[in-house]
Symmetry: C2
Subunit: 416 residues, 2 copies
């Protein structure tokens, strides 16, 4: 009995690694892979690495983050040192992407990891890191290469998600939810993803055909009108990189998303799920927008951390993404709050401050950067999503001629 | 009893990390540290990182090697992919060193880790990696920055060194030998190192005053005359980098070493201890030199791996280092064979094929590369030491006027 449970777990973990490689990243023959992961995700990294080699990768280079080392830095490093970032590493990564290396990240959130530490030091480090990373992340936001983010469980995260279970059972329960959300519980997960990608493609085509000038979220303390960028394109599911490789950026993913016009967002909005940010849990975010700019913002919990995010740069007070997710999505239905954006953003409609994606423009692969900016693309070293959808929220589309159409009611699609 | 043993261990481990940081690397205020280590050395990395921050480092970036991932590559990657190296990463590291980042490595040998795998694939990977790393390693060989290599134990290494002990005791025994060899068993290890560095400085001064044209190793199947480079300088113990920082490159270190003239080495030599190389154990190496070039070479065990090393490039068949270590050194006296060059090279006189060090020239900080090459400096992407000293071996110095002086008998210093 025990043995069969553990062999089922091994099978599903291997399925998840396969999904990450064969659905997510899809490295082509001879391609290098630059992989980052928290040290807690070592086992998952090893499985992904093995499948990536079988899939044709020439070299997988894992870069590990270690929260323990970060805690030492915040506690013991000199006050003057927190604006330093590993610029040399990101310069190297950029050189790798320039030579068509693929980018893989394993995410394994450790909520509250940095609770009690100096948030100013953490915020300064995060800001410096985001600024230095831009030279590399531009290859991602510009859609130059295939990339993927996939999850791994860890005990601290499991405890947060299942606080009432003993540690071992909590970890097993979190893995189980991850397997369900990522379709790794299916016998043939790659086929299941093919069907899901087809459904997301159909939904994108419907929205693109309508070419809305803006969309409005309203209900339960929210009334937010998000103008869409000129020449926007809804994205979601599979993408084709400029390097010609088809990939799924996020595992799991249930969203279709678009580029807001960074000067044309107005109204106010309440978050509907907690946001895990820089090791803190940010709750009940209220933001008010005028002509694209956040003019008022407050979170009930970890407000300092949230304000640090908004103060990253000019673009971090404007939207770079708006996304639609049905309330009945696979992840929403699980009823689980993951405290991890990769999951929670796929349980509800959401917005993100910061950098927008080129693939959210019809001509994103060829248009000049300045042209995209003139059409409403947002520029920032940050990109952070939080959730604004629930069964209390409705979404309307405002057409180019000013007419209004219902898109979602209680965050369910109005059209099949 | 148990508690006090474990608190003594914790104290000594912390001492070792202190030695690595305050004797070895000595990061200065605001300096970045690029740290590499096998994943098995995580605990040691965390301690070193903590002390490095306390010492003034602005940011420590650990890069982990994972043997398990390497095994996956050798087993599963496409045949055409083994000449690929992480050139992007080394380009980034070079940019870091150009901006005065310090370089730290934790070594934790896992002997025989790759036994049974395709040695051609491993050799091709190692050669490609060495070639790509040159852009970064030149900062080390040129003495531009402060750098350090320090050790950490691991269970597989402990089993190799103490095959007759149960695993836990073997690991404790290896740590104990590491603590002794690195002076981490002293109450004030930093003071102990200060005294040791003074002694090495005295020995260097003696040898430099003699300015030998060559040195000869003879006895027990060996008769090797190593011509020294023109304008050579003996090095060992503390060094001052071009960046002005004083550091100890190796922890432990018992050697004084010099640059051979790469065209003036003649004779034959037997190795006296096993060499751990690319996960294999190479034993009983015989090499024959003519005018600096290895014209005949054979190892009784892992000969393939050794031949791959010699075939790295033109310079990997010529010497880049010759070193003197008394047979009565702290590490030799332990009687332990570590199967790790960092230790074993400090138990016996040794030679290295491959790249020579600029600090082994009197004007190494300022002389042009071509000038050093004309005076006998060796160029290679490799640098691998093996041991040739024992109590059966004598060393003579041949003066510039041709006269001969005894330097060591049975590998003990003739002069106090």
């Amino acid at each position: 009995m025990k043995k069969s449970a553990s062999s089922l777990f091994a099978k599903r973990l291997d399925n998840l690694a396969k999904v990450a490689v064969y659905v997510g990243l899809r490295p082509v023959l001879g391609q290098q892979v630059i992989l980052s992961a928290p040290i807690e995700a070592l086992d998952m990294v090893r499985l992904v690495t093995k499948h990536a080699y079988e899939a044709g990768a020439s070299l997988v280079t894992p870069l590990y983050d270690d929260g323990t080392a970060t805690i030492s830095r915040v506690k013991f490093a000199a006050e003057g040192s927190f604006d330093t970032a590993p610029d040399w590493l990101f310069k190297g990564m950029a050189a790798g992407f320039e030579n068509n290396a693929a980018r893989m990240a394993i995410t394994s959130e450790i909520p509250g990891q940095f609770a009690g530490l100096d948030t100013t030091r953490i915020g300064r480090s995060a800001k410096a890191r985001a600024g230095a990373y831009k030279i590399a992340s531009e290859y991602i936001t510009a859609g130059a290469i295939n990339w993927n983010i996939s999850p791994a469980a860890n005990p601290a995260w499991a405890k947060q998600v299942f606080p009432d279970l003993p540690p071992k059972q909590a970890l097993a329960a979190l893995w189980n939810e991850i397997f369900k959300a990522t379709r790794a519980d299916e016998d043939d997960p790659v086929s299941a993803w093919n069907a899901h990608n087809a459904e997301l493609a159909r939904r994108k085509a419907q929205l693109n055909a309508r070419n809305y000038q803006s969309i409005r979220f309203f209900g339960a303390g929210t009334d937010l009108t998000v103008g869409l960028a000129e020449g926007h394109a809804w994205a979601g599911g599979e993408t084709v990189g400029k390097n010609g490789v088809t990939y799924n950026a996020n595992i799991p993913t249930e969203e279709v998303f678009c580029a807001p016009h960074n000067l044309r967002v107005n109204g106010y909005v309440l978050s509907t799920r907690p946001l895990s940010l820089q090791g803190q849990v940010v709750e009940n975010i209220y933001t008010k927008f005028e002509n694209g700019l956040i003019v008022d913002a407050k979170a009930d919990k970890s407000n300092d951390t949230f304000q640090h995010l908004l103060n990253t740069d000019e673009g971090s007070r404007r939207l770079g993404e708006v996304a639609l997710v049905p309330h009945s999505s696979r992840i929403s239905k699980s009823g689980v709050l993951f405290y991890n954006t990769l999951f929670d953003e796929n349980a509800a409609c959401h917005i993100a401050v910061g950098q927008s994606y080129n693939k959210c423009f019809v001509d994103g692969k060829t248009a000049a950067k300045d042209d995209l900016i003139a059409r409403g693309a947002n520029q920032s070293n940050a990109h952070v999503d939080w959730m604004i959808g629930s069964n209390q929220i409705n979404v309307d589309g405002i057409c180019q001629d000013g007419s209004i159409e219902p898109i979602m009611r209680g965050c369910e699609w109005v059209n099949a």
